[in-house]
Symmetry: C2
């Protein structure tokens, strides 16, 4: 906030900071994106759609997102097991909010790369 809007209450500030700390996680953002993009998905599909995630982190992050009310988890008592994950409207809202970050990242990728090259060139050690 702050840079975008009035804030005032330091307690709210602290709570929001805390919330950001838990939601601004690499895997959370990536999973949020694939679910926003592809709708309802099973465990293995999400794992395939999020490059580089381990099963452990996938399980852990999905649980956390479920706890925060960002996704729903539906278990079908069949064999082999089938579990479907989908965004709640809360999750959709966060996905929409992150949208700006994605667009920024896409638009500014070359500038970041250039900045990094320049930094590495001027920093020998």
């Amino acid at each position: 906030m702050s840079s975008c809007e009035t804030v005032a209450d330091p307690r709210v500030q602290a709570l929001v900071n805390d919330l950001i700390g838990r939601v601004a996680d690499k895997w959370t953002m990536l999973i949020l994106d694939v679910l926003a993009e592809q709708g309802t998905l099973r465990f293995t599909r999400i794992g395939e759609a999020v490059p580089g995630i381990s099963q452990k982190m996938l399980t852990q992050t999905l649980r956390q997102m479920e706890r925060d009310g960002l996704i729903t988890r539906r278990v079908f008592p069949v064999v082999p097991p089938r579990v479907e994950y989908a965004l709640t409207d809360l999750g959709h809202g966060l996905g929409a909010a992150f949208c700006g970050v994605w667009l920024w990242a896409e638009a500014n990728l070359p500038r970041i790369d250039a900045a990094r090259c320049a930094f590495d060139a001027r920093t020998p050690g």
Copy 2:
């Protein structure tokens, strides 16, 4: 992207994912926010404004942000040392993009809390 816009190229997708992975960091977002809010600041001021950060992580994150071209670092050769950090326009852009996330967090804090309570209540273990 994806959920907000056309994407197509999987190479760009991978690069953006990678970039998100590095930028979607708790401390990066928090530092970005205080710099967007308060303008140019010195090392210790940022440390005070970001609750819970250690000097080590502050140094580390600031360096990373400098490398990515998000902030500038100006050193004044005086005693005691004086170092000023400020957002670049690239950093301002990212701050603006994150703005939506902050507003979402502020607006949905009670819903997240409620979801978490409900989850904890229904999950005994």
